[in-house]
């Protein structure tokens, strides 16, 4: 065990040393701390008469987040399993003369650390959670710890599910049935309860997410109970939640170590898959989230000649990777935006649009044309750089138009906007999509040579903020100076026009980006 303890401590020590030596990481840490401190200083809870939305909405969001993460992990267990290990562990630790139980314990300790790191995105939510719900930093840390525990338990469950079902289709079907049955019962209960109170659906949804039947949902519900119990001082609730989670984890560890001592083979595939994904992200390649089984359909690109071939190739790739007209990540982002709009119905379109735009900054970065930059063909093909760039953008632009229409038609209906208002909101949404694509081109044109990915991400966010300023300023000014149309129409029209002008200018100025960009997979 001394060897494993040495490995854990040394890796931890080296990670800290590496962070201290890495200026990019230090800048990001300072930025996060500054963000939290500034939010805390500006905390309106210190002022008078600040009314927050009801905190039970946050409890409901915690339930939804935990259930989603846990179920996704379990479903992963049915297809490719999960691994607590890295490739060096497989090559060095698995073959070393160390008992498998100790190796499992080592994996568990490592996974706890990784789970905490994965959950750090929750800290970024402090600003809006604090201003809308008055969530304190301590509560946010509870939520983060709960999230880490859910991921940890989810990974462990996936490992057990894979171990019990690998290579046996009948067992897989039973496993799938159990997972879907639990989810189905919970969903049915929630839907019926919400339907019975259809005049007040938001409140009903919030209350159902905090009801006992949902809190009984394995792991996710129990840990939610523990987090909320700890925060509200309900000791018994917290204790029961923690106890249930500990028993669950203990039971899985017991099953893994007793029923089948040799779990190495089971985790090998998952370890290799995660190793490939980690390497891809280290090299700047974007994981294209490929479906496990791709349906080939008609073979052939069939159209295009010269640079336009890229567009038709993108259409073919999209057909093979999509579950619907839009890809899975876009659909998830849309659902999150719609849920946000439902919760923030009273605040109006500005809050829903701002949140959707914030999410759009990240979804645009996953566009297919950006993935094209990591392979050499786009640079090698003897066609004018600007024409190649335009054909590469075509598919992303088409997608953002479809997404904008569907998303804001739904949000517009939820918020009771008029048809004209919806049209201008959609126009503004499309313009932001174009603007962020232009921002991406700008980043690739001038900063693709930066080797530190963390700095690139930082620059990316700053550039997105800077190029958004003209539109935001125009929207603010127009309502002060002009009174020709309804305020929503005026502001979103100004946003759209401004963004289109800025985007086209940026794209034109960076038209030779492909001649100056550097292949992004060093």
């Amino acid at each position: 065990m001394r060897a494993l303890a040495y490995l854990i401590l040394t890796r931890f020590k080296n990670r800290i040393k590496n962070t201290i030596k890495n200026p990019g990481a230090i800048i990001i840490i300072i930025f996060i701390i500054a963000l939290v401190v500034i939010s805390a200083i500006n905390n309106p809870s210190n002022q008078f008469a600040k009314t927050y939305r009801h905190i039970s909405e946050v409890y409901a969001m915690i339930t939804a987040l935990y259930i989603w993460v846990f179920v996704m992990n379990c479903l992963n267990g049915l297809s490719k399993g999960a691994s607590l290990y890295s490739m060096p562990d497989v090559s060095l630790v698995f073959v070393a003369p160390i008992p498998t139980k100790k190796v499992l314990l080592y994996g568990l300790i490592q996974q706890m650390g990784t789970s905490l790191l994965v959950g750090l995105f929750i800290i970024f939510q402090y600003g809006w959670l604090n201003s809308v719900y008055g969530v304190s930093l301590v509560f946010l840390i509870y939520i983060l710890l709960g999230y880490a525990l859910v991921i940890f338990s989810g990974q462990l469950s996936a490992m057990m599910i894979y171990s019990l079902t690998a290579g046996d289709d009948r067992r897989k079907t039973v496993g799938k049935f159990i997972i879907f049955a639990i989810c189905g019962i919970a969903a049915l209960y929630a839907l019926i309860t919400i339907y019975l109170d259809k005049d007040n659906m938001v409140n009903a949804a919030v209350s159902v997410a905090n009801d006992l039947p949902i809190i009984l949902f394995p792991i996710a519900g129990w840990i939610q109970a523990a987090v909320v119990g700890l925060w509200t001082g309900q000791g018994v609730k917290a204790l029961l939640g923690i106890l249930a989670a500990v028993i669950y984890v203990g039971a899985i560890v017991a099953i893994l170590t007793r029923s089948k001592a040799d779990y190495y083979e089971d985790v090998l595939q998952a370890t290799e898959a995660s190793y490939t994904a980690i390497n891809a992200s280290k090299e700047g390649r974007i994981d294209s989230a490929l479906p496990h089984k791709v349906k080939l359909g008609r073979i052939g690109i069939s159209k295009g000649f010269g640079a336009s071939t890229f567009y038709y190739k993108h259409l073919l790739e999209s057909r093979r990777s999509r579950v619907f007209v839009l890809d899975r990540i876009t659909l998830i982002f849309m659902i999150v935006n719609i849920v946000f709009a439902i919760f923030m119905k009273n605040v109006g379109i500005v809050a829903a649009f701002s949140f959707a735009t914030y999410m759009q900054v990240f979804s645009v970065a996953l566009g297919r044309w950006i993935r094209e930059l990591v392979l050499p063909y786009i640079y090698l093909v003897p066609e004018p750089a600007f024409i190649k760039l335009l054909h590469c953008l075509r598919e992303s632009l088409m997608k953002l138009v479809v997404e904008a229409i569907i998303l804001f038609a739904i949000i517009g209906l939820i918020l009771d906007l008029s048809i004209i208002e919806i049209i201008f909101v959609v126009f503004a949404r499309i313009s932001f999509g174009l603007l962020f694509n232009a921002g991406n081109i700008l980043v690739e044109r001038f900063f693709s040579g930066i080797t530190l990915k963390i700095i690139t991400v930082f620059i990316y966010i700053i550039i997105m903020i800077v190029i958004s300023i003209p539109a935001i300023t125009a929207a603010t000014l127009i309502n002060t100076l002009v009174d020709l149309f309804p305020p929503i129409v005026q502001s979103f029209m100004a946003i759209g026009i401004c963004n289109f002008i800025v985007s086209l200018l940026v794209i034109f100025l960076c038209r030779n980006m492909l001649e100056f960009a550097e292949l992004n997979n060093r």
Partner: protein
């Protein structure tokens, strides 16, 4: 021909290529040798126009980033350049369309030669690393480039593919093409090279011509003298 003149490339503070110059004539096979981290892949990427650099690179008399140069340059990367969601035959179709080629059956010939024809309906992501490398080679050769640069082309290939690729190198040389191969495996190039540049720490430390009957040092002797000499200096 391929002409590299005073090329310097930095990654931040790291000097990957330091003032490199060399030429490769048509009908010549040049090899870039050197230990890991010597800067071989970087100069190959600079030649392919994938990196920014200081200096000048000409391909067939044109600046390497010009359309004329791109038309005649083939590049085989170290890591296979494959689209996960395209089949093998669609990769060939993609290259034919994007390079505006007519259908002369060369795609089929290449796939058969590298034993990929029976995999033509397999997706890129379903291929093994070696098959992906073979497909990557087919993509680079399909438009019959005059100048071809290979970055560690043998890595991951099976013996048949290695034999075929070596045959191809000779055929390309005989047909007057300009070939540059980067490798750290001396034995993989010993039977067909014309000119060798040995790189250490981002610079070319020695250049050797393959002349029959000469009593100079062998390539292997020269290589170890330079690379191990460097270790001794350190």
């Amino acid at each position: 021909m391929l002409k590299v003149e005073r090329v310097t490339k930095r990654y931040g503070k790291v000097l990957a290529n330091n003032d490199i110059s060399f030429e490769v004539e048509p009908g010549q096979i040049a090899v870039l040798l050197g230990p890991n981290g010597a800067g071989k892949s970087t100069i190959i990427k600079c030649i392919a126009g994938l990196l920014r650099f200081f200096g000048k690179i000409e391909i067939d008399g044109n600046e390497n980033k010009s359309l004329e140069a791109k038309r005649v340059l083939g590049y085989v990367p170290e890591m296979p350049a494959i689209y996960d969601l395209l089949t093998v035959s669609e990769h060939m179709e993609f290259i034919k369309r994007v390079y505006r080629l007519s259908d002369d059956g060369y795609d089929q010939e290449l796939l058969k030669r590298l034993e990929l024809w029976d995999k033509k309906d397999k997706l890129g992501k379903e291929l093994s690393k070696g098959m992906q490398q073979k497909l990557s080679i087919c993509c680079a050769l399909l438009y019959k480039p005059k100048v071809i640069v290979f970055d560690e082309p043998m890595v991951g290939l099976d013996p048949h593919a290695i034999k075929e690729l070596k045959n191809m190198f000779r055929e390309f040389r005989d047909s007057g093409k300009t070939i540059l191969i980067s490798t750290h495996m001396l034995d993989s190039v010993e039977d067909y090279w014309d000119l060798a540049h040995i790189m250490v720490n981002g610079s070319i430390k020695a250049t050797k011509f393959n002349r029959d009957g000469s009593d100079e040092k062998t390539l292997e002797e020269l290589y170890f003298e330079i690379t191990e000499g460097r270790v001794a200096e350190e």
